[in-house]
Symmetry: D2
Subunit: 499 residues, 4 copies
């Protein structure tokens, strides 16, 4: 899901990539909404700004609760949980943009169709949503949100097909872009991935407690395996690219309306997004990150006294690097996990202390040392510069930055909140320039081939790379229809709500 | 506006009629939203459960704020008011039903059409909304609220006409029921009353400060004249039954697409709903109520020591009665105006104290007296019974109830929240039975002819009564299409939102 | 209770007197806290800014809940009410000043003494509180609030007497000023009035449900009889000036430690503060107000077409005036009771609309008429001026103001929030000047003797007036010790709390 | 600071020790309150339940804001920060018990003394507070909180000395227990540590921006050096055991009224409480923890495939263990840092999933492995048992628990929230029993001598250990006066507040 925007590319508010969403669905389970809340909690890293759950009860009534903030802040109330009745539920975590649009854009989206209620949760981004929306509004469709995901709803509503599955397929055939979605109607839970399988989606099965089966097993669809683990569901398989799975009381059926295409799974899920204990597309994330670190050490080793990760995301790569390089791994930077929702409005005097709210230097581990800093990526470079400054202020003699991704030179159009190209440091500067900007003695990124080697390939196959790596290569496998269009057409709503 | 309901007739939570809404619109005024808030405040008696304002700024952007509760509780915040930019605004007070549906049903409703933004506020109730909604959903329209008013929005969205006014007329021609509505789009403010003019709507003109004109005068549309007074607007005229007025920078235009029909203005506005200082359809409310009281004294005089109103609504009729009968008018019942939103969850021991939260007996004015109690209406009879009990407990020797409306024997389908017939005391009991139930020594209602006499007619003209008095006569001038249909078809939304 | 202040005299934020408090205590009743909430509700007119209840359970544990705003807003929650366990409770309504001090100053005050818990609620104002506080702080006592009432607590804490009653008497003997207080400890409820009986306090007895006795009757102490009525308590008697009543399971005992003094009950309770249905010091309020109106008509009659009250407080006097003068009583001003806690931050353009939030002119009742306006008092004159302006704008031909109190020339030091003398219109201008300022054709106040006649006396006895009328006469019967002192000494707390 | 309790020993709500507080004071700095908020943020690990800041402005007025929850949740509001005016501030983080007492117990405490305002923040626990409180109440002192810290306030208030410093020393001489406190009055900031220096306190100096000096340097007192780092203060020195430092515009003065005693600094600060990047009592925490891990490996090595920390606190010890043992260090357990304030009310079905909200197993790193799990301590054993279970469920072949503290056999009375002895696993079971309970193949704790060796000593000197290790040894260096007394005397307040 992505908020459609008049800005060419939506921009995050700090110097990191942001995954836009986590999705979770459960079918045929006691306490379905509680399982959904747990699943969302395990997927919290995919979106911390808003969360929503829709449940479906035995009488065909849907129950919804959504809120800003963490899962645990919104679904801890016993009354709320009790209101989310039923044995099926759908849930969504959002990395939201700020401001008035927030509430009406929180998913799952819901609609009363002629054939009954329907809810959908979407991870990804559609690349022809603006054009579709324009055409739908022209036809008399009234949009309530400014998310691209709402076009699914209207396309389904106006489809001339009769079954829900056929209407959904009809809708999917009209959209372009990346999507992993889970939908719920009175009769089935449906999962779908776009034909290239850019965003992840896995299927799990509930055996015993807590979601024990009544008249058959329970089923879970989720963005990552860590959400299966927390609810005690057994991993069954990844949903295939272009596959639609229909889960109902008869079991799981699969439809593949798009034929066979080569997968282009998002390689950044391995580098940064996915939780280290998840297994994505058959490969454990944690081990992959350590292997990338080891590749990095082989490619760009440098004499040093300590290898220090930028926590938490840089830790596994730093461990791999340290082991390969034979240099001690040290926690030279401590992360403060207690950062609240808001913090001090900084005055001029304290503004430059900002970055230290999250990270602090562990001086005794850095003082007088030659330090290899390992981070997962550099986007704008501002955070890196501040961290390097902090490490030097703590007495490091040399600072060598090693990055476990190739240089990020292009924006993502498939669901990751990346700044526009003009703000990507690697799109504007060569290696030497970047090193100077962030203030390091040396700088190296993993090579594209090195990254693919860590993923078990001999290198990047230019014809059939097997992953989406557009942010490093500009090789956009799905057409960027809206991006080619007229930015002036992108005004989506004339309403601004004061909440 | 009315929440469409699966219940045959929506039922209020206490023993009074409830007007469902007040509407207010302003065009071409400095501080338009502030004027709208003041106008809503003056119309607060028409709905206390929720309030909303939508403004329209010079750039064509709409700004919205809605909330539960009183106007003063929602529009006192300087930030909120500052966000409601522009020289035009639309506002709505709601008497809402409780529960989850509240927030999405708060008006004004807004939609992004292909031709731009559009907001509408509606007072009244449509009698064929269920059928229209079913057809629209069948066509692929997605409803967001459960109010009947939303059908206006969709009918406009799918209209094949090109101008906004034509689309609105197209929509109005398809609906049945009572409506006074004000709409706003980038270019004009539009007011409309249903062909029989059941609900009120007046036009006013802003001269000097505070809403002084820039390049022409400002204009106001409101449910009652008291809302013109508070913003310093001059009363121009009532909007006619079936008239559509279009207010734009060129001035006020009038369209009458429904031809000429006999007016059936709601007579209960005179008896209870309208504020006493309003002038409705050319006649001051306060004086009318005193005349009804005087008629009542002539029709059903009884020897007594004091005439006591049930405050506040019974006061003018009691004054008229007392003057005509030559019996002293006394404040024998004191009303406590500080009743908060919620109050004590009554235990069994204190439940019977409930009614006393609003009223208390002024014992010295009642003790040993023969009391004529004057009230405006009796719906279920439960409140009346408790008040009579309280008056007797304070020492009244005799209690004679005189009611300034005829017996309420039928439910309203045109925008007033009335209980179903089975709960209307006058539909179930004769005069004697009612007197026994509420515990009075005598009971009398104004006669239908007496009521019309107080309104300046010789009596009720059975052919052309000139007012809607269906709640007393069952003479429903607008077809009750939905009410004839199948109650099972009235399920509007399968979603329940926990807020 | 009064917030001690560095300002010479505390000043209200609008142009009315404000009673500072209502007190209510109940002993030996089922649902004691619920009865206390009802009692507070009936006393809501004595203070709308904050409310608090402390209950005492069988185990000797006290339970407390306090909040800003109306009783109904704070004591409607079932969990809150359930937490207020026990068969005894103490409650307090406050007319509070704004700002940070609010919360810590909300009563009842509570303290853990060596002999157990103790709670107290106070209506009135101490005139030597600053000096006592200074001495107590010098001794090492730590004050938590800035209310004068807290000196009671510390004086009791450090008293060398052993019983609670003796400690309380010891404390009372050291304070000067006006107080009606109710206290609660494990063993008894205690009521006390200052030796001159300036503020009211009544004793009631609970018979049957809802606060039915278990092992003896229940007892109530309250500021006014209307609070007895709402809980179904029978009026027993006023507590005498200087009397201490001790209510425990053995019944009611009386102590009169101050000897016999002449009563100086606050005459303004009759004019404005008390609820019209209360009987204070044996005399019904409603009838007294009507008699004052009749006196006023006799003293200062003027040819006119209508007598119009400034609602709600001016209504009974206007009725008395109208009846005596034989001029019709009309509701020429309508009061809007829906004024929320806050309202629009007025811009310059709408600031002058301010007063109309509460009152609106009923034009048809005023147009072309010679109007006698009846109000209870004039303080600063600003509100009166705006109301007269509004009445004239509605078309009144003449406006004659008649006031049911003598000119307010002095500030109250005994518990009423009055502006300093410099802001009292009657202290600065003669009758003619006042008439000019408020813009009336004629102005008259009731005479002092006329007021006493309406109270059943032959006139004011200069030696033994029998009432406190210091605000009209400057005859302060209780020494104004603090007011004589150095204003610089009145800084009470160096702490400002941001809530 | 500790909430005084009727329970023999306060008990935490989960299976970890809890440090009760962090304190921070700043003198002579621009944006003093903002620095205090940053300092609190750096000390957030010492208390997450409530936070408070009191500032002192140039006019001698104190400004206070306190709230439940994280620093960032309470001090992010610009209005709040703007209200905390002045160049000096005092701040406190609290690990609070739940329930009604929370708000009145949040520090800093403040009092208006005869000599002016006074605020104090306290880390530690007094062991004779009950007795002192009883005596003070007997004398007429009224307590507002139920914290032991309030006795400081009253002892100062009633002291017969004249200077603030002398009154504070007078008070300190009467208390027993552990305390590091910072106080603020108009004239000076004062820091004090108890004679044995059980709890930490450091002094720092502000040079340039952001808290640049005006007429002299600024000064900081804080629980740990990490709070100096975040505000850019230079570490000056630890405050000595028994030392009182007085910081005013003349600089820093030192008073040592207790003579010279042997330090008994809390050894658990090294093991668990202090942040790894802090330097406490001259020794870096991070290095110490790694040395403890290495000692543990030497003492209790076991053949294994991986060393896995229980994150985050077990990480440095696990790194030390792994390096010493030559076994790979792996992140076999992932910690979820997004745990909100509340979470799902667990139904029976999902209750056993509870522990997984914080930790999840990284299956690929554990499957088929012999695992050494390293944790910092075991209190009740319940968390350990669940973690071991989770690790086994993820496929671990063997699980060996190694603990970087000796067995916790005694409760702490000096400021750490420990369960009573009966709930300490090590107080009730031998090593074998413990291993069976938590379900491991082997279990070992660091030895007492090993711990001292890691701290640079040859072992524990039984005569002069140099640290407080009472929780491992029962060697309580400060008398436990209250604990010896009668539990029935420990009722502190009879008031329960519903908030």
């Amino acid at each position: 899901m992505n908020e459609m925007s008049t800005r060419p590319w939506p921009a995050g508010d700090d110097d990191k990539f942001h995954e836009e969403c986590g999705v979770f669905g459960v079918w045929n389970a006691t306490d379905a909404a509680a399982l959904a809340a747990l699943g969302l909690h395990a997927l919290q890293h995919r979106g911390q700004e808003a969360a929503g759950i829709v449940s479906l009860d035995e009488a065909g009534i849907f129950h919804s609760h959504k809120g800003q903030g963490l899962v645990g802040d919104n679904f801890g109330d016993a009354k709320v949980m009790a209101s989310l009745r039923g044995r099926a539920a759908l849930a969504h975590n959002r990395y939201a943009t700020t401001g008035e649009t927030a509430l009406r854009n929180v998913q799952p989206l819901y609609a009363d169709f002629a054939f009954g209620g329907f809810a959908v949760a979407h991870n990804g981004n559609l690349t022809n949503a603006h054009g579709l929306r324009r055409a739908l509004v022209q036809r008399g469709c009234l949009f309530q949100s400014t998310t691209d995901s709402e076009v699914f709803i209207h396309l389904i509503a106006i489809s001339l097909y009769s079954t829900v599955a056929d209407r959904l397929i009809d809708a999917l055939k009209q959209v372009q872009g990346a999507y992993s979605l889970v939908a719920l109607h009175n009769g089935a839970m449906i999962g779908a991935r776009d034909p290239l399988g850019v965003r992840p989606l896995v299927l799990g099965r509930l055996g015993g407690a807590p979601g024990e089966a009544e008249g058959g097993p329970g089923w879970v669809l989720a963005s990552e395996t860590c959400a299966l683990d927390i609810v005690g569901a057994e991993f069954v398989r990844d949903v295939d690219p272009g596959e639609i799975v229909i889960v109902d009381d008869a079991g799981v059926r699969s439809i593949k309306p798009f034929g066979r295409q080569q997968s282009r799974f998002c390689v950044f899920e391995y580098i940064y997004f996915a939780r280290p204990d998840s297994v994505v597309e058959g490969t454990p994330v944690y081990g992959t990150r350590k292997r990338i670190g080891a590749e990095l050490a082989r490619e760009s080793g440098v004499p040093a006294d300590v290898v220090v990760p930028v926590p938490d995301s840089g830790v596994p790569a730093a461990m791999g690097y340290a082991a390969e390089a034979g240099i001690p791994f040290e926690l030279g930077i401590i992360r403060n996990h207690y950062v609240g929702r808001t913090f001090i409005e900084p005055t001029d005097q304290i503004r430059h202390l900002g970055v230290k709210l999250k990270h602090s230097a562990n001086r005794p581990a850095l003082e007088g040392k030659r330090v290899v800093l390992v981070d997962d990526s550099i986007v704008r470079g501002t955070t890196s510069r501040k961290i390097v400054e902090m490490v030097r202020a703590a007495g490091a003699r040399e600072v060598h930055m090693r990055v476990s991704s190739p240089p990020t030179t292009h924006s993502c159009h498939y669901g990751i909140d990346t700044p526009e190209r003009a703000k990507l440091m690697a799109a504007q500067h060569d290696l030497e320039g970047m090193a100077r900007i962030i203030g390091v003695d040396s700088l190296a990124f993993i090579s594209l081939d090195g990254l693919y080697r860590a993923l078990g390939k001999p290198g990047r196959d230019m014809e059939r790379p097997g992953f989406c790596d557009a942010c490093f290569t500009g090789d956009y496998a799905i057409p960027l229809t809206d991006a080619m269009g007229n930015a002036a057409d992108r005004q989506l709503s004339l309403l601004q709500v004061s909440q």
